[in-house]
Amino acid sequence: MTSPSPLLEARALCFSRQDEPVFGPVDFALHGGEVALVEGDNGSGKTTLMRVLTGMLHAGEGEVLLDGAPFALDTMAGAVVFLGHHLGLKFDLSARENLAVSAGLYGVRAGTSITAVLGDVGLAGFEDEPVRRLSAGQKKRAALARLLLLPARVWLLDEPYANLDREGIALVNRLLRDHAARGGAALVTSHGAVTFAGDEPRRIRLHA
């Protein structure tokens, strides 16, 4: 299942804010079917790394390759989805309407539908409730449903476990396993406080 050129690759990636390095040179290559865990203490630069990988922040040095080609926001054609501290949900729309917008923008993975993915993340019965009325964990689940719906091959998840209950954590692990089995790649940050289920994933450690 491993393709010749890795799906996502970082080469000697550094980022500095006001000439203070946030994280040192990071190297990794993520092939289809792999899930890697970015670990680090508070303030070690996990969120920053994620934003560099999405192309929002410009790395000082080093480069990011997607499918072997240098990465640019214009050309990556929806290959990446990002789930950050801010969930990207419109609070006045329902979960269903939010997903419909994502579907319009990115397209839909073959064989799924909005109702199906909402049921998968445990929001059956809440589909038409405005997101504003959902609790912190329910909002997180609505955001996770996007991952299931869209055809992107690379997932970048910043602290997907925060605010979720035990069942929610198991849900994230299941989503990651299925994604890897489909040949996708995922990069997940965590403080290592929650145990990552499944076979031992690759780890990338950042130090504060």
Binding site: D74, V81, H86, G88, L89, L93, G107, V108
Partner: protein, 228 residues
């Protein structure tokens, strides 16, 4: 339209913004009410003489519409940036300029169009004569999209700043001066029975240019704004 194609993406985004506006339909009415109230403040502040009010009617309506649009402009990209939607727009497999153009269109439909519709009422409250009112509406119909487009570029530039409302006003108002001069000039000309086509034509030319360039500039400015 297959989901994920460019027309589908534009339609989805436009539908989203219009739905959001509809959910907060009170907010669509608010710029209009704001304009109505500001216009009514003038007679209080200046005294109720009809000749005086008639003389300043065109100018006051333009300045008021400008201020009302200004207030709503701040909400053009800020909510999307704050809640993480902007990142998703940027990562989507669609030209960002086109998506931004859709957002501007939605903004014009929801924030400026109601103002254009209500402007005749405001103008006649200040005793502007009917022929001049027709010109006023024409001038607004050309000037407001231009203001939306110019405003969007500046909002996008200011989006990276910590707090943008006022900054925006500052940057936008000088750019609006020519628009105000041309538009109010057309109304004044009509009021004096002079030809008023030329200033409107200039505004139209500016609009044509802005429709093409502003979304591109916006997209570039937003990329810069997200880079913090």
């Amino acid at each position: 339209m297959t989901p994920g194609s460019t027309p589908a993406a534009c339609a989805a985004l436009l539908r989203r913004d219009l739905t959001l506006a509809w959910r907060r339909r009170g907010d669509i009415a608010l710029p209009v009410l704001y304009a109505v109230i500001v216009v009514t403040l003038f007679p209080f502040a200046l005294g109720p003489e009809p000749q005086l009010l008639q003389r300043i009617a065109g100018g006051v309506v333009f300045v008021t519409v400008l201020l009302a649009m200004l207030l709503s402009l701040d909400g053009l990209f800020r909510p999307d940036i704050d809640d993480g939607s902007m990142e998703q727009l940027m990562l989507a497999p669609q030209p960002l300029a086109l998506l931004v153009g859709m957002k501007i269109l939605a903004h014009w439909l929801t924030a400026a169009l109601p103002l254009v519709v209500v402007a005749p009422v405001l103008a006649s409250m200040l005793h502007l004569p009917p022929p001049a009112i027709v010109v006023l509406v024409v001038a607004l119909a050309v000037a407001t999209p231009l203001l939306s487009l110019l405003g969007a570029v500046l909002v996008a530039l200011a989006a990276g700043a910590k707090r943008s409302g006022m900054l925006l006003a500052l940057m936008l108002l000088p750019l609006c001066v020519p628009v105000v001069i041309f538009a109010a000039g057309a109304v004044a000309a009509a009021q004096d029975g002079l030809p008023w086509i030329a200033p409107i034509a200039w505004l139209g030319a500016g609009l044509a240019l802005a429709v093409v360039l502003a979304p591109l500039a916006c997209a570039a400015a937003l990329r810069i704004a997200m880079d913090t």
